[in-house]
Assembly symmetry: C4
Homo-oligomer: 499 residues x 4
């Protein structure tokens, strides 16, 4: 058994020990293999990393380390004070009184304000960051505001229905939880909160490939929730599986098979991430941490885990992130086959050209998204892509279902999307923020707010069923001005699609 | 007789006493029947509620309580200090010197600034709040600014006339007081201030269904003012009655009949409020108060008067507000019949489609409004609806009179509306703000300012009579860009109106 | 002789004494006749009014008072301290070091910043104020920014000429000093500064009807300057006379005749001021002063010199300001006749319709202006009116010369106007601000800056003579979007001009 | 040898000594010949000017002074403290800890923030200043944001190529270092930093005529860097020579010949600078310095080195700057001849009209630029000029190569330009700012960032080679709205180009 003092001496690349759950680990040989990069480990060298470790890793991760790295329990000596870890995760950082009472939360933006105030800096950086100059991030929000509504009066709206079929599931509202990674950064229960709330509200939750809770545990939780939740029925809530294709095709088949066998009812294949976008707030946070830890060693290059991203002339391309950058249209058939029957959704379509092509590619639905503005900056907002399709190739809307996400904050946003032909609307960050502040209750409240806003807005629009919504209920003049011109789009279709 | 100390012990849902006008009341059994919700009572449990009660209830309300609830006068013991009520209403909160001298008020926006500074928080929240993200609220103001004027020079404008027939009344200016609820929140004389000022300036005042002074007292006051006001003539000022249809048709007939018999000269039927909009500033104020009062009891749901707004799957729909959500076009004939001859105005039209339909529905006038941005957010401003009608279906302007309100702050706004075909223009909040700061004198001054602005602007436009105003005096280019496209509107008319 | 103490006792409406230039005056009987209103006098009752009096009145004003009102010189007693006048004019208020050195002034906006910092509040309010919500004021500036330039390269620009014929005068630059009132508020030499600078730069100065220096003295000064200014030539500088027509036609003929006989070379008839606009900053300043002086007396109406602007139903219309509000197109012939040969310019044209009419009305030039945004708010900027003419009725540019003012701050602004067909461009406030901070030297520097900017910009545009400038050098796309639509303008011309 | 005390007495125009590199110089007779103006010297009269001198002059400048002006070394007396020079240049002013670690720099804008914080005021004023009201400066940045991207998904992008032929050089990225003057203001190594980084990244560096390092030394450095830089190959990096034509044609031929003989591979002739623009921040800095130095002497004109820019009526035109203002289209042939074979690029084209003319003028490429907004304010951004050409005269893109600079800050900006037909994109200020904070390493990092952004964006766009980029990948709707109208441009071409 080692004392804190002894552990503290192993605080370098040459000998790196950390304390997790009162056990001492020697992770020296593991530093360079850490998927999250060496810096994430080295900042805790010689220190207690329990809090941040548990907050960012799925259960069972510790068990994957080689047995011999566990040096046994730490020996606390009277008077010892644990050396503080630099980045304390949000769950412990929150002062009990700092978070406003959930009852006072009025809308989804309130959750964001709470999260900004109470999340740990690294969690806020990861959740809120977006590509480059944040143009797409801001446009995602702004473009919804450019659409206005055209309500009708004097219709009997005493009873309204918000039901809609989403990814094969009879959802209670035209909304689903969009895939987002690493929910444990926000709350210790992580993705479980999302699963529980989806079950309670009988909606679809599309779990990310990068969940911080295992996909099996998520699937288990949604089933459990159906039982414990008073008034639950069979069929309440459903799961979709968001897939990043790995480099290896067989590995891909394996993941798809696992998702199917765990009971995920729909497959959402992300096609906009051959590399990761440049999310500067996140990268800045890491760089500043590295400077603090490595100090002068960074003067040269390549030292201390700091790599140049693009080595000119190297043989192997250096990519941002770890996904396949070789995924192409020809891969869709084998993915379709591997998944078998059931909803297959292509996520990340951003132009009318690709929507046209996708509509003939054998998928059940396309999912318009610019990845929350985290991939290509200056990519169009999903609502503007929907309008592009609505105007230039409305036939797509008859061939495949259309989903979208990005910047949705209000029930009126959902209604606008449905007016233009969307089947359902996803939200990502708002649920993460709700979960960060309030766990499952937060997500539950967020869905309750959205549901109330949609219902109230339907009545004020003079419609009692979502199927009544069409182009005539929305004024698109302002957003339409910024669409690609018909002249330009037709030239593109002639050139690239041989139309 | 009870001492303050004894009263203070009855401060719960189980036993709730309050002091009003030095009398003790046991209101325990009334808590759940309170139209304003239980919280509004419970916050004063065991306390002196005199100030806030008198400020928010019409005279005679206290008399409607069961006799036995009055436990007799409070017994003041020497040294007693009244427990302070939390929300002190504006009338007592105003420091004598805090309000700028009325003489320095230059325009209607000045009144708003004064009200913001001096009103009690609950009153400001109620008056100023609007739906959701306040888009329509802000658009209401911004859209007027998008219209510019095209004045003509070298016309003899030494004498001008501002007279116009408004809702059947020979009004001295093309302006009326739009319906707004709960004027007592702003001033102890409440709606009486509005009635007096309407009489002095010989204009129409459309009293709200939700007036905090009885409709009979309002009608009485406008008649009295005609007598005491030096230089008054018969016919000076007129009343219209704004109607929210109750659920029960017979109750509706009753209200209409009462309005008629009290001498209200026009009936304004509101058609944009099947449910109340989500006015967050107002709801936030209430929620924060509830948290302060109920504390930990709010953790679960349904406790302490806090209800979920939409109970999914319940048998009875839970609606925002208490109006009929079943009102439809087929109801217009019986309303017409119940009202009999005299101006019948349909308030809340927001699209060309509905304007076309309303023009054939047997009403005398349509009243374009988005309810001050308090109902559906992203609804069009009334001036943009007017422009939509002016361009796409100008025949409506020949069939019915057109009124509008929303965001009007200047004489030039009034002139712009008249250029595009409006008969008259209503203002709501500006008069409430004027009344909050200065009572009747404030409303009087507000009308005087508006009148001067209209008159000065007419001279600077080169017109001597309002009938000269037409499209050629206003440049609509900027607002026109944001109108629904002709293509889209024609498709809508084909689909929904079988044109 | 009276002591300060004795004078101080005569501080009311009943007995009102003031000290001017060390003399005591009893002005009690004059209070109600004061053209500037009683308040302007009463605030100095019992006090020393020397500074403000001298700053706001032409020489010789004091001599117009009845002899007996002069009570003799004030008697200073050792230890006496003059009671401070409330509003100290800028000339004495300026701290010697507060004003930046003239050498550091880079552009016309710098002068405005200096003036804002150093002018007395009443002077700043009068100079800077504009109508209502300041929309036209701001638009005047913004609209220039909407035009961009299209420069040409590779042209020999070693020598350029900035000469242009302005109102019949061979001006050294295409710029003139626009009429502005009350220059003494800014500097004790008042309009003389403007006359001197006009002479030095050989440009036209259009003196206002409301000059605070007599028109004779202005005319005398420009002649004198020609002599004392080294290198001056005969013909250097010229005067135009800006005319507000008085109510009485004969009085009008008289003024015109006087202007002619004093040597004013052009007559600028203002046609946009049948009444004064509502300049709130100015009116607010006066109202706040009145409240401070009259206090409680203002509660009622009509007391203390505070009048309601529009008395409804009165026999005589109450107008803002003192000009004729009956001036009309039929008056132009007699004005033309009264003035005789020489440039006659109609100032205040704001639409294509009126430009077309004016082009046939017998004037030599039209002068596009919205009066610096001080008359009708939401009136178009002059540059947008010029563009309206340029596009919809370019024939006007062939019939009459076109001048304009409003928001001009840069040499590039001047060039933009000339590209669209203007003959010359006037500036008002910038010269007042230059004069306020630095007297004649300031105006001189302002003209030098403008001249340099125009010359530099011409070279960078690739032109050597102003006559080369045409539509091809300016991109009007952004401003053109906000013009009245062709459809709307043509309808207007058909209706109002029988075209 | 003189002591500091003795030197300090020679602090006037009459006798002006300065200390440079511990030597005393009598520069009295040189004051008026100083190319940077007398003020730049006089502020150091009697003082130590070492730091600012070295930072702003090329090596060897001191040697050009007459021998006799060197009065020998300064004699330091114990206890002497050097009199501080007023403007300390950035290299010495930077606190070691004030500059953020280079590793934390995420993008090119970060470099600008660092430079603003750490540069000396004169250097920041010189680098950042732009013409007049900074409209073009801001538009340069804003216009890029108006273009949005239209990415395509599902393309194999594992390998991408960023190579492009720039000014005859096989560049590793489609970017070059645009010409900027006076790099020593930012860093003591000045232009050498730019040359080194260009070599390391194998791109083109276009050295300014006004480099603060001699053109020979720059050429030498890029050759040396090829040797010392590990992995360097022959052909790595290339130089272009930016030319301001002097007044004298023979002098021009001389400069061109020298550039050729020093190994500069391309000639960039600037055609937008017949005079210098009015860069107010820079001029204001100088004026304030002059006021501080000359004080009261500035009251009159012409004293103390302060000249009026435009002397009206003088025989010789007074121009801003020292270039030829007579350069014209007819000069192109002899320049072509003097330069001989090899890329000849015409820099400063700003309209379609001039692009059309230049395409037939015998140059290899046109370079769209508004000189960083430093010449004519309200000139179009280069990206809007490129769009103008792309739409109205795309044939130009087939005849000559097109380069552009101005406001480029992101890899996505580069891609947008290439989509619209540009061959390569230049950046100026960002490299100066990188160099100011971090010398060569800063420029290196800036290029590395750009390269990474371009590569990442290409993958996210779905393209693997720059030649795939075309109009279909960019949405130009927003920028297109602000282009000159087709109607207007066609009229211009008819009038000015006889088309």
């Amino acid at each position: 058994m080692y004392t804190l003092k002894e552990v503290a001496q192993h605080n370098s690349r040459q000998s790196c020990w950390v304390i997790i759950n009162s056990q001492v680990y020697d992770v020296t040989s593991f530093i360079d293999e850490h998927p999250g990069g060496p810096a994430a480990i080295l900042q805790y060298a010689g220190k207690n990393a329990t809090a941040v470790f548990n907050a960012t890793h799925p259960e069972g991760t510790l068990e994957e380390l080689p047995k011999k790295s566990n040096l046994g329990p730490v020996k606390f000596v009277p008077g010892d004070r644990q050396p503080n870890a630099k980045t304390t995760p949000s769950t412990s950082a929150k002062e009990p009184n700092a978070t406003p009472h959930l009852h006072t939360i009025q809308n989804l933006t309130d959750f964001e304000a709470v999260a900004k105030d109470t999340l740990a800096p690294n969690a806020w950086a990861y959740y809120s960051s977006a590509a480059d100059s944040l143009h797409s991030l801001h446009r995602n929000l702004a473009d919804w505001s450019k659409l206005t509504l055209r309500p009708r009066v004097l219709r009997n709206v005493s009873r309204v229905s918000l039901r809609r079929n989403i990814m094969g599931h009879a959802s209670s509202i035209p909304v689903f939880i969009a895939p987002t990674a690493r929910a444990k950064l926000g709350h210790r229960d992580g993705e479980l909160c999302l699963a529980r709330a989806a079950a309670r509200h009988n909606i679809v939750y599309a779990a990310s490939s990068y969940s911080s809770i295992s996909h099996a545990a998520i699937a288990e939780e949604i089933r459990r929730e159906r039982v414990v939740n008073p008034g639950a029925r069979v069929g309440q809530g459903a799961l979709a599986f968001q897939l990043y294709l790995p480099h290896d095709k067989e590995a891909g088949r394996g993941v798809i098979g696992t998702a199917r066998s765990l009971g995920y009812a729909a497959l959402v294949v992300t096609v906009d991430t051959p590399v990761l976008g440049k999310r500067e707030a996140d990268e800045r946070f890491k760089a500043e941490l590295e400077v603090e830890i490595y100090g002068g060693q960074l003067e040269g290059e390549g030292e201390g885990g700091v790599r140049r991203l693009a080595e000119p002339g190297g043989d192997e391309p250096v990519l941002r992130g770890y996904h396949s950058s070789a995924l192409e249209w020809d891969d869709i058939p084998w993915i379709r086959e591997a998944w078998g029957p059931g909803p297959l959704i292509m996520k990340g379509i951003q132009t009318a050209e690709d929507a046209l092509r996708a509509a003939d590619a054998g998928v059940d639905a396309i999912y318009l998204s610019n990845h929350g503005g985290r991939q290509l900056d200056y990519a169009p907002s999903s609502i503007s892509t929907l309008l592009e399709i609505n105007i230039f190739c409305p036939e797509v809307l008859g061939k495949v279902e259309v989903y979208l996400d990005g910047g949705v904050r209000r029930g009126t946003d959902v209604i606008k999307a449905l007016c233009l032909g969307a089947t359902g609307v996803g939200l990502g960050r708002p649920f993460l923020y709700a979960l960060s502040g309030y766990g499952t209750e937060g997500v539950d409240k967020a869905l309750q707010i959205l549901s109330d806003e949609i219902e109230t807005s339907m009545r004020l629009m003079g419609v009692v069923d979502l199927s009544e919504l069409d182009n005539s209920f929305v004024n698109t003049a302002e957003l339409e001005r910024d669409l690609v011109s018909a002249r330009s789009l037709q030239a593109s279709l002639r050139t690239h699609h041989k139309l």
